[in-house]
């Protein structure tokens, strides 16, 4: 199967008065048609910036400075803003973390969904409103006809996120990027949204990229998981492999520091000492080396590349000199 999205060697820099600071340092990721990929990492690891760079939505003073990102064979990073504008919504849909700041507070939700349809598909206003109603039904909003005329503040957090998803789906995109869409929601509502996105993906055969800091959340959602640390992919594997045979010390640390419902009560969690490096203050060699318990002299000398793990699933790739020594170095 062909790759729908193929990112190779992506770098992103923040322009500072003191010079550029690197936040994303050579990310490689591929996504096939119909596949769902979970991108996991802690605050500041570059997971959101990587996805925003694809559709030309990076904030001011943050720029993609290298690499390619091919979507259906075309490099997104070299597209004009006009080409990207046509692609957003119709080919690549986005769901953002905070529906309260992403929705227009003075516009009825029906009109916000219809706007995308008029714009993307050239539908007439009545047809767009009819389709907006169908979309609200699709995302499971009760009494959708009344909700069409509601303002965002009249809806609960979970309902607002459903409206965001309806807007994301309006252009029937081939790729849906969900950037921490459940972080602001309660667990029971979070579970509803996860189920909704999974059902929609299966129904429409979309590819989904789900960005999150919660490894457990995407265990039931993603086909494959990429673990990011300090702007690089440290491990990339099918979901079962990540949980059964985590290989990179950071992935292992993340899993061990996650409290679960089957732990011994009052037991100490295995925590990872220290904090991730600041942008622009990346250590030489492996970015995880200063926090890693398995660090060797090779780790601080050069940067490990993402490479297949001997004896594991063929799709399992890890960037580590110690736990995946076959990886070799640059």
């Amino acid at each position: 199967m062909n790759a729908l999205l193929d990112i190779r060697g992506l770098t992103i820099d923040i322009e500072r008065d003191t010079g550029p600071a690197r936040v994303v340092d050579g990310i490689d990721l591929t996504l096939r048609e119909g596949e769902s990929l979970g991108i996991v990492g802690e605050s500041g690891c570059g997971k959101s910036l990587t996805m925003l760079s694809l559709v030309g939505l990076l904030p001011n003073r943050i720029r993609a400075t290298g690499g390619v990102a091919e979507f259906a064979g075309k490099d997104l990073l070299s597209m004009s803003s006009e080409e990207l504008r046509l692609l957003r919504g119709s080919q690549i849909g986005f769901i953002f973390q905070d529906p309260m700041t992403s929705l227009n507070p003075v516009m009825r939700v029906g009109a916000q969904i219809a706007e995308a349809l008029v714009y993307q598909r050239g539908l007439a206003k009545p047809a767009a409103m009819a389709r907006a109603l169908e979309l609200l039904e699709l995302v499971g909003i009760p009494s959708p006809r009344d909700r069409l005329m509601a303002y965002p503040h009249e809806l609960s957090g979970g309902m607002r996120q459903r409206v965001m998803i309806a807007i994301g789906l309006a252009g029937s995109p081939r790729l849906l990027i969900a950037d921490e869409p459940t972080t602001a929601l309660d667990v029971t509502i979070q579970a509803q949204i996860v189920d909704l996105v999974r059902d929609l993906k299966d129904r429409f055969g979309m590819s989904v990229v789900w960005i999150t800091h919660d490894l457990a959340l995407i265990a039931g959602l993603a086909d494959r998981i990429a673990v990011l640390y300090a702007g690089t992919v440290v491990e990339d594997a099918p979901v079962d492999v990540i949980f059964d045979r985590p290989t990179h010390p950071y992935t292992r640390g993340l899993l061990a520091s996650l409290p679960t419902l089957s732990d011994q009560p009052m037991s100490r969690l295995a925590s990872i000492a220290g904090t991730p490096p600041e942008p622009g203050r990346r250590p030489p060699g492996c970015p995880f080396a200063p926090r890693c318990g398995l660090v060797t002299s090779a780790c601080t000398a050069s940067v490990p590349r993402l490479a297949p793990v001997a004896g594991s699933d063929p799709a399992h790739r890890v960037a580590c000199f110690v736990t995946a020594p076959e990886g070799g170095s640059a």
Binding site: A191, A216, A219, L258, L261, L269, S271
Partner: protein, 334 residues
């Protein structure tokens, strides 16, 4: 059983609000309704529930940061719920709180050292000459080097700030600390560090915690007992070991089932709770959970279920659950 450190009886909090574009309609938010529990010396009692269930309000009312509408909180023979600000002051050093957002709770213009010294000097717990050694002791307790005393909050990471917030709560040598979502804003790897720190400090100083959180897995880790709250009322109160093995209230079961599992195979089939939490402005009559409950019957719509002990230490407020076995649930064996 040891004597309770805090005896909380029928604690209730209602907020009057004005609704409508011009505030023309008066209404009442029923945030907390009849909260009753004894908090035992040295234990960690956790409160869990979804947004708006009253768990934070409980923490604030117990400490009299928000004055309860009615009810009592007995600490050392005094009902502190009746005290005014001046009356509360001597009790504040025993009863401390750590908030969720370490960015908002530290004064950006005070160094860490000044922030930690302030409560010690205010309560006259140490002479000025001893402040330096006391600061170093506090910073060491929370795993920070003494260099941090000279720094400002903006120079610290989120995890380091939360350590400072904990150090400040410890500064008065308290007996009781409310941790209000104290680790919710932190990244996973840092969250584990802070959880371990809280457990270590509890062992070292014999602290009692009221731990307020929405993450059940975290709560399981740190708690002796857990209270599950729904719309201002306690649905179930049980030892942590029992609650997670044998949840009895239908809401507890739904909540546990919504927790993401790290086992990808288990995660794919879970039990779901339909709908959303009703508004605390107009809570449903009878059992407040009946609008979403799979077991709801006629009685649940009219009568408020009392919290009854149905297994040792395990109390449930549900008409459908009278003992661990006599329910119409299909039980997983304990």
């Amino acid at each position: 059983m040891t004597a309770p450190l805090l005896s909380i009886r029928n604690l209730t909090k209602e907020f009057p609000v004005r609704l409508g574009a011009f505030g023309e309609r008066a209404a009442t938010v029923h945030a907390l309704d009849g909260f009753t529990v004894d908090i035992i010396q040295g234990e960690t009692l956790s409160l869990v529930g979804e947004s708006g269930c009253g768990k934070s309000t409980t923490g604030y009312c117990v400490l009299n940061i928000q004055r309860p509408t009615s009810g009592s909180v007995i600490y050392g023979g005094t009902d502190i719920a009746q005290l005014d600000d001046d009356g509360m002051r001597p009790f504040r050093r025993d009863l401390q709180i750590v908030f969720q957002d370490p960015y908002a709770t530290l004064n950006p213009r005070m160094t860490i050292g000044e922030a930690l010294a302030e409560p010690i000097l205010f309560h006259k717990l140490a002479p000025k000459s001893d402040i330096r050694s006391r600061l170093h002791q506090l910073l060491a307790d929370v795993g920070l080097s003494e260099r941090f005393a000279q720094r400002y909050p903006h120079e610290l990471s989120g995890g380091q700030r939360q350590r400072v917030a904990i150090a400040r709560a410890l500064a008065c040598q308290p007996r009781f600390i409310v941790c209000d979502e104290a680790i919710s804003a932190l990244d996973v790897s840092v969250q584990a560090q802070i959880l371990n720190l809280l457990l270590d400090l509890q062992e070292k100083y014999g602290l009692t915690y009221l731990f307020i959180a929405h993450d059940l897995a975290v709560v399981r880790h740190i708690s002796d007992r857990v209270g599950v709250m729904y719309l201002g009322r306690v649905a179930e109160l049980a030892p942590a070991a029992a609650l997670f093995v044998q949840p009895l209230h239908p809401y507890t079961r739904a909540l546990l089932s919504a927790v993401p599992s790290t086992d990808p195979r288990a995660a794919r089939n879970r039990q779901r709770l339909e709908g959303e939490v009703p508004s605390p402005l107009t809570p449903p009559p009878g059992c407040r959970f009946h609008t979403r409950c799979p077991l709801a019957r006629a009685q649940c719509r009219s009568d408020v279920p009392a919290l009854r002990e149905v297994a040792p230490g395990q109390s449930v407020a549900c008409h459908a659950v009278s003992s661990p076995d006599a329910t119409n649930w299909e039980h997983s064996p304990a």
